[in-house]
């Protein structure tokens, strides 16, 4: 639902979203990257399992909760991308192991 205006050229890292490799620009947030993917969503809710996407981008709505490198309920808008990062959209409640 969003697009990047410039070509980041060589300033990119490769991350994985639900197992698929995706290029991201150094310094941008996980939430910004998710909004450029098809559907743009970040998690499903624990109550009705409906899809949610980043809403506020400043850390107050918690709609961008994702699993990052095995850690659950991380705020994607406060987390810059890192080379090799593994991002999973979170389904319902965060599991106890994550």
């Amino acid at each position: 639902m969003f697009r990047k205006l410039h070509d980041p050229g060589s300033a990119t890292v490769t991350v994985h979203i639900d197992g698929c490799p995706v290029n991201a620009e150094v310094g941008e947030s996980v939430a910004a990257l998710l909004l450029r993917q098809p559907g743009g969503w970040s998690r499903t809710t624990p109550v009705s399992e409906s899809r949610r996407a980043p809403y506020c981008m400043m850390g107050v709505c918690f709609e961008c909760l994702v699993e990052i490198d095995g850690q659950g309920s991380v705020q994607g808008c406060l987390t810059p991308v890192r080379e090799g990062m593994s991002i999973s959209r979170q389904h319902g409640r965060r599991s106890l192991s994550a």
Binding site: R3, K4, L5, G39, Y55, C56, G59, V60, L65
Partner: protein, 472 residues
């Protein structure tokens, strides 16, 4: 300083937030030689207004984001050079009297100590509940502006924007300059607001430049040729798993349904009050800004000694006022440490006070002109008021009339406000629903009781706390 900030436990002052207010406070306090730690949840200084400023400064994108944004380049540089212990990507989740602050950084929790605390945690956009506002594709205007600043991203297709206030006008101006496209602007300013605001205009005339800037944005947007619909009162977002259609209705009864992929909403901003509330600082209801504001003296000190609130957290005033409030609180802290005598303090404060009065002169006009439409506080029954726990306005309304519960009882009954955002998105809506259902003023209803942790903390992070409890 070359020392690792996390190795230093104690500083004279702790500042929470590295936006205009927090940075100005830090620079001022350092000039008088006090030690200061600044923690902030973002990866770089600047707050929301100057998000990504250090990265953008080196690119051609700086020019099209405007003069007010460009001003952040020097501020961030001065802050970096001031010698404060700066800890980005740190979340504050508890402050104990004395003061001991608990924070989490890079998955590890620890506590730090300070003799005084300045809360410069800024503001958040006022929640705008309407049916479908939780669908992917509905974001705030502020969120879209952050995406433009930090990721150079714009909505893929022509975007719908609904709301009122200076921010939508600024964002639309920046978006067009960047090459983005606008499907239409649904102006939610109710009929007659300009007339009501005019009585505040004489006081604001000293801010002629701001008025001119607002006017020039409006005129340029009109010339851009996209549809502008006035007096929009009701919104509904529809779609399967994402926004597909947008319905709107004006005060005059004109209604329409349009195809939409992204809708941006904005109805003003409100101070972040969670940290002051958790510290037991007294607050008051501000009828002009429709929100809670901490009770402060002329230095920004709260009802709790040595706890200060500065910036938009002290009441919405904008970046210029935020810096001045930051400096005033910093001067007071400096004097408490005996680095400035009474005469020196008053002399230093005089010019800051005068500048602050000037910076705030246009605010009553803006508050009256852009006061949120009544529907923001009275969404239809099917609207999810609590996004986290998915509690509807209808459920809250029917519960609110049984035994006249307050916000905390309703929270226990319905789970509204119990999710990870801790009422940041539903608190004011719930308060207004309770007030309307029980026929009492909203200021009497109050707010959720805010308890630590202020941000969610994992058991793993808690276990990483290296705490030695003092012997009893």
């Amino acid at each position: 300083m070359s020392q690792n900030p996390s190795d230093i436990r104690h500083t004279d002052l702790l500042i929470v937030g590295a936006g205009p207010a927090g940075m100005a406070a830090a620079v001022t306090v350092r000039r008088h030689g006090l030690s200061v730690r600044v923690i902030d949840d973002q990866p770089a200084p600047g707050g929301q207004i100057w998000r990504g400023i250090e990265t953008v400064a080196a690119t051609p994108r700086l020019a099209r984001l405007g003069e007010a944004y460009r001003a952040g380049v020097d501020r961030a540089a001065a802050f970096r050079a001031c010698g404060a212990l700066y800890e980005p990507q740190s979340q504050l989740w508890q402050i104990e009297p004395g003061f001991r602050a608990f924070l989490t950084r890079e998955g590890r929790a620890r506590s730090v100590k300070a003799a005084a605390v300045i809360l410069a945690t800024g503001a958040q956009e006022r929640p705008v509940p309407f049916p479908g506002w939780t669908l992917p594709g509905v974001l705030t205007v502020g969120a879209a502006q952050i995406l433009l600043k930090t990721a150079d991203s714009v909505p893929d297709k022509p975007v719908w924007i609904a709301g009122c206030g200076p921010l939508p006008l600024l964002y639309m101006t920046q978006l067009l300059a960047a090459g983005g496209r606008i499907a239409g602007f649904l102006d939610t300013t109710p009929r007659g607001r300009l007339g009501a605001a005019m009585r505040h205009l004489p006081r604001g005339l000293g801010r002629f430049g701001d008025l001119l800037k607002g006017l020039s944005w409006s005129l340029a947007l009109k010339r851009a040729g996209f549809p502008i619909v006035r007096h929009v009162a009701e919104l509904r977002a529809e779609g399967e798993g994402r926004l597909e259609r947008l319905y709107y209705r004006t005060q005059e009864g004109r209604e329409n349904t349009v195809a939409a992929e992204v809708l941006l909403v904005h109805e003003g901003v409100v101070p972040s009050v969670h940290a002051p509330l958790a510290l037991g600082c007294a607050t008051r209801w501000d009828a002009g800004q429709n929100c809670l504001i901490p009770v402060l003296d002329g230095w920004g000190e709260t009802s709790q000694a040595n706890v200060f609130v500065v910036g938009d957290g002290a009441g919405i005033g904008g970046a210029e006022a935020a810096e001045l409030r930051g400096r005033l609180a910093a001067l007071r802290v400096v004097s408490r440490f005996g680095r400035l005598d009474g005469g020196g303090l008053e002399a230093a404060a005089r010019s800051e006070r005068k500048a602050l009065a000037h910076a705030l002169a246009l605010r009553p006009f803006l508050d009256a002109l852009y006061a949120p439409r009544p529907q923001v506080f009275a969404p239809p029954d099917e609207t999810l008021v609590c996004r986290c726990e998915e509690v509807t306005a209808g459920e809250l309304r029917s519960r609110a009339v049984q035994g006249r519960p307050g916000p905390n009882q309703l929270k226990a009954f319905t789970r509204a406000g119990m999710g990870p955002c801790q009422g940041r998105q539903c608190g004011y809506t719930l308060a207004h629903i309770v007030a309307a259902a029980q026929n009492r003023p909203v200021e009497e209803v109050g707010f959720y009781r805010i308890r630590p942790p202020l941000k969610p903390v994992t058991l793993g992070e808690l276990a990483s706390l290296d705490e030695q409890e003092p012997a009893a």
